[in-house]
Every structure is written in structure tokens, then in C-alpha cells.
């Protein structure tokens, strides 16, 4: 039938046999995620006078962006979200202690290959790491999906990215994505679906795939996919609970791609996104030596266990530069627990890091605000002006390895010196 993954999923969710790029369909999402902004969707629901949900089982609510409340306004908003969840019997409700919505939903088996998932967060593309179509929508649209169960969507055309070779030591999925975003531009894949293929994929962990699908957003993608394989199955099956719900959707051999891009991973070097755009990327060597005041290890892009472990392997037995504040925010409760059990958390603390409770943390401006003129290096996915405090501060984005090496030196540092 010559269809891509996005086309297949949208056709299925719209109840039609086949769709083509550009076509508009009414699709029924399997899951509607809303996070700290849930209270806004609740107020929209009140405003339009709706009282019934299409299917409460399709709602997931995770209070992740401001966790816990810093002001009574946030506290009241969170209470609104909690009360809504209780009133409507939302089973997939996770309070402020759970962690980042995306990671929490995947860890708890709420994301299945072939699912259509929409949510109030642009980085919903991350669900493609498990073969689901994830995409961000606004909070008003969320209300609409809550109530009607459906959403109109335009079928995206698809770009195929083929990865060969292996990363050199010190280079990771984050560097690959910063390279791609820099090469293609922040609008390089505007409203396109991205599918990753190639001999390199089978060696890439689910965690790395999450970083890739997550950051695909930063080149404008509507959604991104790593086609499910043995690694996906191995990671997901214990979390799904029932094996029958594991139904990977793969592209047809003769699927039509708008464009193909090939990347040899062995040619990549550690990359840094410089202020104030994600696509303003450079090899780390070009900005090495830049003084940093703060280093933030976390976010849905790089707050996963593997990310913490990579940083810990570089920080082990060393102390961070006294001029740097290293803030580590585990992406979820499960990630924090794993880091406790393996000693990663202790290593981070011993190096001088401040380990916070799980959540979005400083990425979304929840703590870790910066003053005028300060510079932050961050493993998050955005570096826009004022995102982490003063509009006279700057944010550089990097991999966890680059971040750890830089925290040790107090300046942006090539991690290959430590691996």
C-alpha cells in the first residue's frame, strides 16, 4: 500500500483504508496528555459548558512543569487539575512527584507502537521512540479532544533519515540531533514526519531513541519515528502488561518519502547549540572555553537514567568547578530510584551537584533561573531568550557528556578529553 508510518497510523485512527500527504482526516487519538496546563483545559471545558468526556480512559494528566507549587496561584491551579482528575475518575493521573509527563507515560506503559497521542507539549514527538505518533496541540484543542474524542489533522509527508556507522567515544544521540537541526534548520522538517532507519539504529538504546524523537521537534517535525524493533519490544513489553497490545506499525517497503538524508555517525563530533536558537549549532571545539555559571542536566530530552549515568561516569571521583552550579533533575521518579540504586545519584552529589526532585525543572524555568549576564549550559531542548530567567542570560545546549566535562572545568569543554 506504499504508506509511511504516520500515514498508516492516521489512516487507522481515522477509520479509512489509506491516506495521502496533505489530506485532512478526523482522527481519534488513543491518548490525550495534558500536564501542568490541565487547569486551562478544564476552564475551557467549563466555558463551553461541556460536562462529559468522550472516554476518560484516554486522558492522561501529569503535573510536571511546576513541581511542586512555588506560589499560591500554581497551588490553586494544581488543585483544579487534581480535582478534575478525581471528579472524572482519570486513572492515568500523576501528581507533582511523578516526573516529566513524556517519560512517565512511556515508563508506565501508556504509550504503545501504533498509537496516536496528542498533548499540550510540543515534545510529544518523543512517543515516536516507541513507534507511536505523538504530536503537540494547544490546551483548547485538548478540551475539544476530551469532549469529542477526535481531532482534525493534516497528513504530513515524511522525511527518511538513514543512520550508518557508530558514534565515536564522547558523541551521542544528542550530538546527532544537534547536527541535524543545525544542518536542516529549525524549520527544516516543518510539519513533516521523520522516520529513522539504518544499520546504526539496532545498536541505539531506547533512551537514545527518545532523545532523537524528542529533538526532532526542534527541526519543525510534526512527529518522528524509530520503527519498533527487538529493543523496543524488550523495553516495552514488561511495561505494557499485556503482550497483545504490542502491535508495531511499520512503513511499507515502497512507502514514498519526500526526501532522504544519510548520516554516518562516525563522522559526527560533539555539538553545542549556541544562544539563542536551537539550530545555531557548532562543534564543541568552536565554543570550548566559554565560561558557564550553571549547568543543567535534565529534561525530557536528556533527563533519563542513561543521561545521568553518562554524566556520572565523567564526574566520578572529581569535583565540579566551584564557580559552576550543577543542577540535576531526574526525569522521573523511576529514573531517580534507579539512580539511587546504582550509585549514580551519590556520585552526582559527591561531585558537588544539586539533585532536585523529579520533573521538568529548570528546562521550563522551574527553578534554576539565571541572572543578567549569566550563562547556562543545558541538556534540554530549547535555548530561547529568557527561557531560564533573565533575557540578558544565555543558554547553550549540549549532550550530558559535554555538560559533565564542562561542569568540571567551568568552561564549555570537549567531552572527548574525558572519555
Amino acid at each position: 500500500m506504499s504508506q509511511t508510518i504516520a500515514e498508516k497510523i492516521l489512516a487507522k485512527k481515522a477509520g479509512v483504508a489509506k491516506v495521502s500527504p496533505g489530506q485532512i482526516v478526523d482522527a481519534y487519538p488513543d491518548l490525550v496528555m495534558s500536564h501542568t496546563a490541565t487547569w486551562r483545559s478544564v476552564s475551557v471545558m467549563k466555558k463551553i459548558g461541556a460536562t462529559k468526556l468522550y472516554d476518560s480512559k484516554r486522558l492522561a494528566i501529569v503535573l510536571d512543569h511546576i513541581s511542586p507549587a512555588k506560589t499560591e496561584k500554581y497551588a490553586a491551579d494544581q488543585r483544579t487539575s487534581r480535582n478534575f482528575a478525581r471528579e472524572y475518575g482519570i486513572e492515568k493521573f500523576y501528581d507533582i512527584d511523578a516526573g516529566i509527563a513524556h517519560l512517565v507515560l512511556m515508563e508506565h506503559g501508556h504509550v504503545r507502537p501504533g498509537d496516536l497521542i496528542v498533548g499540550t507539549d510540543s515534545h510529544c514527538t518523543i512517543y515516536g521512540a516507541l513507534g507511536a505518533l505523538g504530536t503537540g496541540i494547544g490546551y483548547t484543542e485538548v478540551t475539544s479532544v476530551w469532549v469529542t474524542g477526535k481531532l482534525w489533522m493534516r497528513v504530513p509527508s515524511t522525511i527518511k533519515v538513514t543512520l550508518s556507522g557508530r558514534f565515536s567515544p564522547g558523541v551521542s544521540a544528542k550530538d546527532l540531533m544537534l547536527y541535524l537541526i543545525g544542518t536542516l534548520g529549525a524549520d527544516g522538517c516543518g510539519y513533516r514526519s521523520v522516520e529513522f532507519y539504518g544499520s546504526a539504529l539496532s545498536e541505539m538504546s531506547v533512551s537514545e531513541r527518545m532523545t532523537m524523537a524528542n529533538l526532532a521537534m526542534e527541526m519543525g517535525s510534526k512527529c518522528a519515528f524509530v520503527p519498533p524493533d527487538e529493543k523496543t519490544q524488550e523495553w516495552l513489553l514488561p511495561r505494557l502488561g499485556d503482550a497483545a497490545s504490542y502491535q508495531p506499525v511499520l512503513a511499507d517497503a515502497d512507502a514514498v518519502y519526500e526526501r532522504s538524508i544519510d548520516v554516518d555517525l562516525s563522522t559526527l563530533v560533539p555539538m553545542v547549540a549556541c544562544p539563542h536558537q536551537v539550530d545555531n549549532t557548532r562543534p564543541v571545539t568552536e565554543v570550548a572555553g566559554t565560561r558557564i555559571d550553571q549547568a543543567f542536566l535534565g529534561s525530557c530530552a536528556n533527563g533519563k537514567y542513561e543521561d545521568l549515568a553518562v554524566a556520572a561516569s565523567i564526574l566520578k571521583g572529581r569535583r565540579i568547578d566551584p564557580r559552576v552550579r550543577l543542577i540535576v533533575t531526574p526525569g522521573s521518579k523511576q529514573i531517580m530510584l534507579e539512580a539511587m540504586r546504582t550509585g549514580v545519584l551519590a556520585t552526582l552529589m559527591e561531585s558537588g551537584a544539586l539533585v532536585t526532585n523529579p520533573g521538568c525543572g529548570a528546562c521550563a524555568g522551574d527553578g534554576g533561573m539565571m541572572a543578567d549576564g549569566e550563562v547556562s549550559l543545558s541538556t534540554a531542548n530549547r535555548n530561547f531568550v529568557g527561557r531560564m530567567g533573565s533575557n540578558k542570560s544565555s543558554i547553550y545546549l549540549s549532550s550530558p557528556a559535554t555538560l559533565a566535562a564542562s561542569a568540571l572545568r567551568g568552561v564549555i569543554t570537549d567531552p572527548r578529553e574525558f572519555v
Binding site: P68, A69, K70, T71, E72, Y74, A75, A76, Q78, R79, D95, I96, D97, R325, I327, K333, M336, L337, M340, R341, L345, A346, M349, E350, A353, L354, V355, T356, N357, P358, G361, A362, D366, G367, G368, M369, M370, A371, D372, E374, G389, S390
Partner: protein, 426 residues
């Protein structure tokens, strides 16, 4: 003379002092948290033209309220203090994540018996637990007298002695006793008095538990609180000072046998039940029975009066293989970096995590709700924190109850304020 009088005499160059005397004493240590450091710094810079800090090594800044600034304004305030410290050569700056100010300073071995310590934090009185004269001062006094002259003026306080004896009942903790005393004396019950805590009960406690008593002295209006140093004090201090090779030898002052008290209060701790300080003030102390059953939303182990390793152990013991009530957000805030690491290594965080607790960085926790602890109207928190005034934790109508770690643990399990004596393994 008693310990306090001897310290004030020594530090003001006198042989003898008596209650009512006004002395100008040399100050050994001046402590400020992130909020007060910023205020004092501004007074110093804006109102004390061309002044010089007499001895930067006596200043300590510990950033405890903001563990990671939640606003740009907070970030600017911290950055300004860092710049000030760098400019004036203040090396004792403990940045965000250091823990609760006094625990951090104590663990760093910066306080020793015999010292005069002033702090822009009312709970500076805590250092009386190791035989220092310690009291809170205002921002202006700190800048004008402390920074510039390294001195402070003090009226020698009269001293009340509280003799505590007896064995506390099951599930009754030091916090219950210290809180009971606040309720019994009243918030103005010891205005400008020193309070000596003495007797077999105090002697039986380890120094960290003793510390609750001088700390809470401020809640009855006291100038300072203290415990006559004994062998436990010396052992405790020596262990802290081990980490500081350069620490000068300290002078241990003890009470004379014939020292005088304005009042002696006798307390049998065996008669005291678990105590809760109810909204809206710290002095509104009631037996837990009176408020048991009140539904809660947030529970916290943390603050200068909680979050110590022993408190976290207590919580972990109560929560092992149990789940926090689904309606409760339980927050655990270690009092210091050392405490965090120790609890982590002991596996306590894992137990707490599995029980549903949320572990926060070492800090002042929900105190004044900078990074956490803001409540909505009608929400209720129970914590080991030191203060519960209206509006201090979010909405002015929100309620904050203060209690012992065991009472907080019991309440977190049931979702309601709960008498810890109902816990099987309390």
C-alpha cells in the same frame, strides 16, 4: 556567672557581667541566609559609605531558601550576593544546595563553644546547644556593627532555667517537648531572657536533639537559649572540628555552681503528649488529640527543626513497606548535603521513594515557600518546620501545623493529623 554571662564578659573584655549590663562584645561569627545576606549587603553598600568589612572570615552566607531560584528576581538577588562575597573576600559562601543554614554552618565546623554568634535569622539561637552565645539581629545592626566593627552591643539577659526530667512516653519526641514548652511559656513568655535547658532529660539527649530547645527559644521571645556543655558537647564539637585543620582551639565555658536564675521551671516530660503547633502561630500548641482527624494535603520532614538524619530515619522506619496516603504529597528535605548523602547511602531514600515520598535538595524546604511549599486556599500542611504563620506558605487562608517527625509520618500515612502513638512501631 553562667555560660552566657561568661562568654559576654570574655568577649567584652570584662571580668564580670550581670543581667542588665550593656556590653559591646566582639562577634566571632556572623551568619546570613540568602534572603538576609541580600538585605544586609544593600544596607552596607547603600548606607555605609566607604565602610570596610573588618574581617571577612567571620562572615558566612548560606543560601538555603532558594535551592534553585524560581524567579528571575531571586536569581538576581543570589547573583548580587555572590558578587558581593567575591568583591569583599568572603570565602564562606555556601551556595544553593548546602542545606538549612544552621545545620550547614554547624557541619562545616564554623561554630565552636564560647563564641558569640549573631545571625540575621531568628533561629540563630540554635548554637546555644553547643555552648555559644548566639542570637538573631536585624539587618541594619548586622551591617553597621557586625560588618564594620565585628562587634555587637548586648544587654546581658536574665536567665530562666528549665529543668526537664522524667522519661517521655512512647512516640513522644524532643520536638514534642520543645514545642510543649513554647505553648506553656507563651510567645512572649521569656522576652529578652536567656533560657538554660537542663536536667536529666536534656542530658540524655544527643546534641542534635538538644539543639531543638535553644532553637525554639526565639518562639517564646528569648534572647538566647543554651545548654551547659558536658562531655557529649565536647565530643560532638571535636568531631565537627576534625574536618577543619585550621580551627583554633575553643574555650569551653561552664556554669558556676552558684549562678542565679530569674526563674526555675520544673517540667516532668513523662506527662507530655505529642504536641502540634496549630495555625496561625507557633505558640498555639495543643496535644495532638485535639486536632487529630484534620485532613492534610502536604506533609514535610525538613527545615531547621527537621530534616536531620535521625528525622529521616524515623520517617523511613514508619514508612517502610507502606504507602503514603494517596491524598498526601510527602516532601523530604534533608537538612544538609552530608545528611542527604548519608540518607542516600543508608538506603533511606529508596524506602521513602517506594513509599511515595518526594526527595528534595538540601535546603530550608518549604520555609517561606521559595522553591516549594506554596499551598492553595484551604490546603493543609503538617511539617517539622519551625514556623506556621498565615501567608508564609502560599495562600493566607491555608493552614500549617507543626509537629514531630513521628506525627508527620503517622499523618502522611493516614491523610489526617494522626496521633503517632497509634503507629505500631513508633
Amino acid at each position: 556567672m553562667n555560660v552566657i554571662e561568661k562568654i559576654l564578659a570574655r568577649k567584652s573584655g570584662r571580668k564580670i557581667v550581670a543581667p542588665g549590663d550593656v556590653v559591646v562584645a566582639e562577634v566571632d561569627l556572623m551568619v546570613m541566609h540568602d534572603l538576609s545576606a541580600n538585605f544586609v549587603m544593600k544596607v552596607f553598600e547603600n548606607e555605609m559609605e566607604a565602610a570596610r568589612i573588618v574581617d571577612p572570615s567571620r562572615l558566612v552566607f548560606a543560601f538555603d531558601h532558594n535551592f534553585a531560584p524560581a524567579t528571575r528576581e531571586a536569581a538576581e538577588a543570589l547573583a548580587a550576593v555572590r558578587r558581593f562575597a567575591a568583591k569583599h573576600g568572603i570565602r564562606n559562601l555556601f551556595d544553593s544546595g548546602c542545606g538549612s543554614i544552621h545545620h550547614c554552618i554547624m557541619e562545616a565546623g564554623l561554630v565552636a563553644p564560647g563564641m558569640v554568634v549573631i545571625g540575621c535569622d531568628s533561629h540563630t539561637t540554635i548554637y546555644g546547644a553547643i555552648g555559644a552565645f548566639a542570637t538573631g539581629v536585624g539587618n541594619n545592626s548586622m551591617a553597621a556593627l557586625g560588618f564594620v566593627h565585628g562587634k555587637g552591643w548586648f544587654k546581658v539577659p536574665e536567665t530562666i532555667r528549665i529543668d526537664l526530667h522524667g522519661t517521655p512516653g512512647r512516640a513522644v519526641q524532643p520536638r514534642d517537648i520543645s514545642q510543649y514548652l513554647v505553648g506553656r511559656l507563651g510567645e512572649d513568655g521569656a522576652v529578652y531572657k536567656a533560657i538554660e535547658f537542663a536536667g536529666p532529660y536534656i542530658e540524655s539527649l544527643d546534641v542534635p536533639d538538644r539543639a531543638l530547645f535553644p532553637l525554639q527559644t526565639i518562639d517564646v521571645g528569648g534572647k538566647c537559649g543554651f545548654i551547659n556543655p558536658d562531655e557529649k558537647t565536647v565530643r560532638f564539637v571535636n568531631r565537627l572540628l576534625e574536618s577543619r585543620q585550621t580551627a583554633p582551639p575553643f574555650e569551653l565555658f561552664r556554669n558556676d555552681a552558684d549562678c542565679r536564675y530569674s526563674e526555675v521551671i520544673d517540667v516532668d516530660v513523662s506527662r507530655i503528649e505529642p504536641q502540634v503547633a496549630c495555625p496561625p502561630t507557633v505558640g498555639n500548641v495543643k496535644p495532638v488529640e485535639d486536632v487529630a482527624g484534620t485532613p492534610i494535603n502536604v506533609a514535610e520532614i525538613g527545615g531547621s527543626t527537621g530534616g536531620r538524619l535521625s528525622d529521616i530515619r524515623t520517617l523511613a522506619r514508619c514508612l517502610a513497606n507502606r504507602r503514603v496516603h494517596p491524598g498526601v504529597r510527602l516532601q523530604v528535605v534533608p537538612a544538609s548535603r552530608d545528611t542527604y548523602l548519608a540518607a542516600l547511602r543508608e538506603g533511606l531514600f529508596e524506602i521513602l521513594h517506594l513509599a511515595g515520598a518526594n526527595i528534595f535538595p538540601p535546603s530550608a524546604g518549604s520555609n517561606q515557600a521559595f522553591n516549594m511549599g506554596a499551598l492553595a486556599e484551604d490546603e493543609v500542611m503538617i511539617s517539622t518546620q519551625a514556623r506556621n504563620f498565615p501567608g508564609r506558605n502560599g495562600h493566607p487562608a491555608a493552614s500549617h501545623f507543626l509537629a514531630s517527625p513521628l506525627t508527620v509520618a503517622a499523618s502522611a500515612l493516614t491523610g489526617r493529623i494522626t496521633d503517632p502513638r497509634t503507629l505500631e512501631d513508633a
